[in-house]
Structures are given as structure tokens and as C-alpha cells.
């Protein structure tokens, strides 16, 4: 009988330093992890424990799995001591993917903050893979400082893709920076898509999610078209352990992406 608690070994092929405290781990799991953009996996750092992360690579790239991770606590602290050649554990995928079938033919307005661009990258790559199916893809991304911007090279490449519109900001520029300065909502003064017919996708720190959601609602996005990555303690990933409860939902099973319509009645959904 399949044991859902059992991780499978995944070798680290490469560790890419994105910023001083964010790294991308390129993994080769021993078995296929057939994830779709928006789903997550439980990553085991042997002996230290597990934590949930969303792959940031394309769902169409099955040979390896990339995860961009910020060092914040005990598990990620232990993870950051790992290097290429080390073996981690992985199980999943879990949760519901972005409903890409609902995105077909519509403009997609993506807003990311900090390391929140990681799961959005998986979405972005899935959209770009079949770009003709969708309307225009807008990406609005904010980081704390120019040093904290992840995927610097990729962002430059993505800006060249036809049908993609990217704008960037940093909260404060302590070095060379040619784009906007201000929190990410400063990129949202004008929203260039037909909000009633578009979808918005947001991932970032809770405080950013709160203000971005407020701005999207003001701009006229319907609640059911605002997709939010909710941060809760997704411990088992199976919809069983109870830790990730968010109102009536278990984020690991019903999310981690939920629409504003689904969570609007929950008291303080953003931590």
C-alpha cells in the first residue's frame, strides 16, 4: 500500500545563489513528481524535518525540479548547509494547481513580492509555454532592494517575450536601479487590462498580499478572479493533520492558492 508519509530521495544537482538569503535548489527526484503550477511539495532535510515549498520550474520540465527558497527558520537554515550532490527527501505534489483552463483567452495580471516570485515563476513558465492560449501576461514584481531581486537574468529574458509586459520596483534603492522605487503597489496605479475579464494572481509576504488585494478590488477585479497564495503551516500536505486550517479550508488540500471570494469572510486571512 502506498505510504503518503514516505519521502523519495532527491539529489541536489545545483544550488544557485539568487540573493544573499535566497537560493534556488535544482533537484533530481528518484521518481517523477508530476506537479502542476501552483501545487507544492514537502521537502525533507534529512534529520531536520520537512517544510512545504512550491516548485518554481516549469511543469513541462520533468527531468529536474527547481525550488527557490528563502532562509527564514530552522528547516531552511539546515537546508542552506546543503550543496550539490547532497540528497534530500521529497513527497508530493499536493494541493490544487492554478486553474489554467479558466485563464484561457483572458489577460493575466501577476503580482509578486520578494521570494513570492518563486511559485509565480512556475505559473509564468506554464503560461508562456502555451502563450497563444492566453491574453496578455502582465508581471508586476517588487523586492526590498535591488540585491533582493530574484531571477535577475530570467526577468531580462522574459521581458523580450511577445505578449509579456513586465514592470519592477524596489522598496528602496541602495545601489544602481533603473526601475521604479516604492512598494509593489506603486506599479499598480494604472492597471492596463480589462479588469472584469482578466485574472489576477498574487504571491508575496502577507502584508503585501493584503494591500495588493485591496488595490485589485478597488480597480474592479471580481473576487473570484483574484488568486492568492495563502501561507499557513502545511505540515502533512494530505489534508489530515489540521495545522494549515484557514477558516473552513485546509490550505494544503483546498489551496494553497485560494480566491479572494473563497477567503473574504475569514477574519484576518493574511498573517
Amino acid at each position: 500500500m502506498n505510504n503518503p508519509y514516505q519521502p523519495i530521495p532527491a539529489k541536489i544537482l545545483e544550488v544557485i545563489e539568487e540573493t544573499p538569503n535566497i537560493r534556488t535548489f535544482v533537484l533530481k527526484p528518484e521518481e517523477d513528481i508530476p506537479f502542476l503550477a501552483g501545487q507544492f511539495v514537502e521537502l525533507t532535510i534529512p534529520g531536520f524535518g520537512e517544510a512545504p515549498f512550491t516548485p518554481s520550474s516549469s511543469q513541462f520540465e520533468r527531468e529536474k525540479l527547481e525550488m527557490t527558497i528563502m532562509r527564514v527558520g530552522r528547516a531552511t537554515g539546515a537546508l542552506f548547509t546543503n550543496k550539490a550532490g547532497d540528497v534530500l527527501g521529497i513527497r508530493g505534489p499536493y494541493g490544487k494547481p492554478y486553474p489554467l483552463d479558466k485563464f484561457v483567452g483572458r489577460d493575466i495580471y501577476i503580482v509578486g513580492g520578494g521570494v513570492g516570485l518563486a511559485p509565480l515563476r512556475a505559473l509564468f513558465l506554464a503560461l508562456v509555454h502555451e502563450i497563444k492560449k492566453y491574453g496578455r501576461i502582465y508581471l508586476r514584481y517588487g523586492a526590498r532592494t535591488p540585491n533582493d531581486v530574484v531571477y535577475k537574468k530570467q526577468l531580462k529574458e522574459w521581458e523580450k517575450i511577445k505578449g509579456v509586459d513586465i514592470d519592477l520596483s524596489v522598496d528602496s534603492a541602495d545601489g544602481p536601479w533603473e526601475r521604479k522605487v516604492g512598494v509593489v503597489t506603486c506599479l499598480m496605479d494604472e492597471i492596463p487590462c480589462d479588469v472584469k475579464r482578466s485574472v489576477a494572481v498574487v504571491c508575496g509576504p502577507p502584508i503585501m498580499m493584503k494591500f495588493v488585494t485591496r488595490r485589485l478590488l478597488e480597480a474592479g477585479f471580481p473576487g473570484e478572479s483574484i488568486y492568492l497564495s495563502m501561507e499557513t503551516n502545511m505540515s502533512c500536505g494530505l489534508g489530515q493533520c489540521g495545522h494549515c486550517r484557514l477558516g473552513p479550508y485546509f490550505t494544503c488540500k483546498d489551496g494553497p492558492v485560494l480566491t479572494w471570494e473563497q477567503i473574504k469572510d475569514i477574519e484576518e486571512p493574511f498573517l
Binding site: 505510504n3 514516505q6 499557513t232 494530505l238 489534508g239 489530515q240 495545522h243
Partner: protein
Amino acid sequence: MIYFLPNERREKWVARLAGEFNLFLPVQIEGKIHWQKYDKGNFAIDQLALSEIRAAEPIKAFLYRPREVVATFPKPIDPAQEMSALLFGVKGCDLRGLDVHRKMFLEGEFRDPFYTRRLENTILVAADCPMPRESCFCNLVGLNPFVNRGVDLSITTFDDGWVIEAVSDRGEKLANSAKDLFVPAGEHHRARREEQRQKALGILEAQNSKKWNPELSRAIAEKTSDRSFWKKAGEDCVECFGCLMTCPTCFCFLLYDQAKAKTGADVNQFERTKVWDACYMAMYARVGGGANPRPEFVQRFINRFHCKFMHFMNQHGFYACSGCGRCFTACMGKIDIRNILGQL
């Protein structure tokens, strides 16, 4: 089929069951009922507390272990095949726990293989509660002080013997193998049983005469923002988690990993253990970055009521509460959830 087992043959039947299964039964120890493994040399039939209410421990511990290794790395373990267990004397309220855990562990996208195997290998023999106690309120959560579904055999105790009904095919087989001891029961046994069951229901109705709001889940939702109500309701809580640890329906667990060695060749090997957890714990819902959605106790207190009486009801059609009263029996502050829910 329904049978009768005269008093003088009970011990023989129990001993026979113990020969076939890991037999656990409720016995009275210092005024309290506890589950105990049948011990041939040290068991007399009059120790059996079959006519009493549920034991202090919920039966979930037999199926969903308080602590269990669920994975090893990198070499996986196989969920162990254990000798079949027979729980002799489960109560109507105990079954609510099983119903909740079936929903959580077996009927979602992922099945828990450990729970699956244990449940398949566990024979359930129920016994009526002819004399509900003050702590019992199964009638308020839609249950009865007797069982006629979801078990293998159902026993009703009388002064002169037990009326036994086979409820499942497995139960029928068990009854067949005791044909030399059982005698066929008739309508008068059914009538006696019915009379005793109605009497027990009457006791429950009388002591729990204050009914809950028929739209309890909506009432809880509406009351949620009234923090002073919940603060007062939970003010005697000392956060010992006794209520949650003895609750037969609570399903929360924590997974933690322990390395086999701190250094050397085995450093990558570890064991993953699953332990019961409690949503009252302050750090329960905290995320890796440190944020906590329920830092105040009152939020965690409300969460328990939301989970059991609002979300579970809305999603599965019944309360995640068995009416067993273990929570306030264990409670140092004697917080009686009947009264809290009765005010809504």
C-alpha cells in the same frame, strides 16, 4: 440474527475470543473504566464493565496510535501487519470517533495505510449503555446510548445474560462459531432490549433537556466576533490539552523527524514519527517564518468549536463530537461544552 448468551456461559465465550484475537475489554479500576488486554490468569467475568459507560481512554488509540513511526529514510518501511484486535464493549459514542477518522484518514485523496490496515484487522463488539452518566450527552450530537450499525456484534446486557445481535457478516461468522454457547433469541428478547434502550434514552433526555440551537453551526459563526463571550467561556482553561488528548474525534497530528546519527555515514538516515497534536498549543499553527494565525488563546478556543461544530458539520453532515463528555471530565477547569453550546 439475534442470540442470547446465558450468564454462566459468558466467561467461556470471552476466553474463546481471547484465543483467536488480541482481546481488549473495559474493566473497572479504582472506580474508573479502563481498556485492558485480556489476561487469562487474572481475569474474572465480573471484572468486565460492559454495562458501564465508555472507558476513560478513547478507542482511537487502538487504531490511530498516539505515537507511531510512519516512515524511514532512505529505506522505506511497510505498514506493519499486526494480529487482529477485538475491542469488546465499544460504545455508541466511540463510533463517532471512527466516523470522523474515516472521513479524515480514509475518504480524502490520500489514505492513511496504517489506519486502513488496523481498521480492517479490528473486530468491534459493541455494548449498550443502560445507565448513562451525568457526563453523557450523545443524544445532543445525534447518537444513541446503543449501537446497531458500524460494528460486528452488538451486546445488550441483562441480569441473566447478554442479548447479542450480529450486525455484520464478520459478526455473523463470530456468532456461528459460538453456536454451542449461544441460544437463538426471540421477540421477547428484542422487546426487553428495546425497553432498556428507551429507558437509557429517557435518562439522557432528562439530563440534557436543554437542546442546542438546531442551526448551531450558523449560530457559532454569528457569535465568533463576540470575543467577550468566548473569553468568559474559556477563562478557566489552564491549557493542559487534556480535553483534546482524550477526545475520541480529534484527529490532529504532528510529524517530526529524528536523524539516526548526528555525523558519519548514517547522517542522512532518519525516522519520521507521527504523534497526536492539539490545536490549543500556542505554536500549533505557526509558520516557518514565525507568523502565527492564532497567537491568543481565545482564538484557539474558538477554533476548536469551529472545527468540531461548524466546519465538520458543514462539510460532512455531522458534528466532530461524540457526546462522550471526556473533555470536561478531564478538564481541570470543568469547562462543559454542553453549556457553552447551549447558550448559542
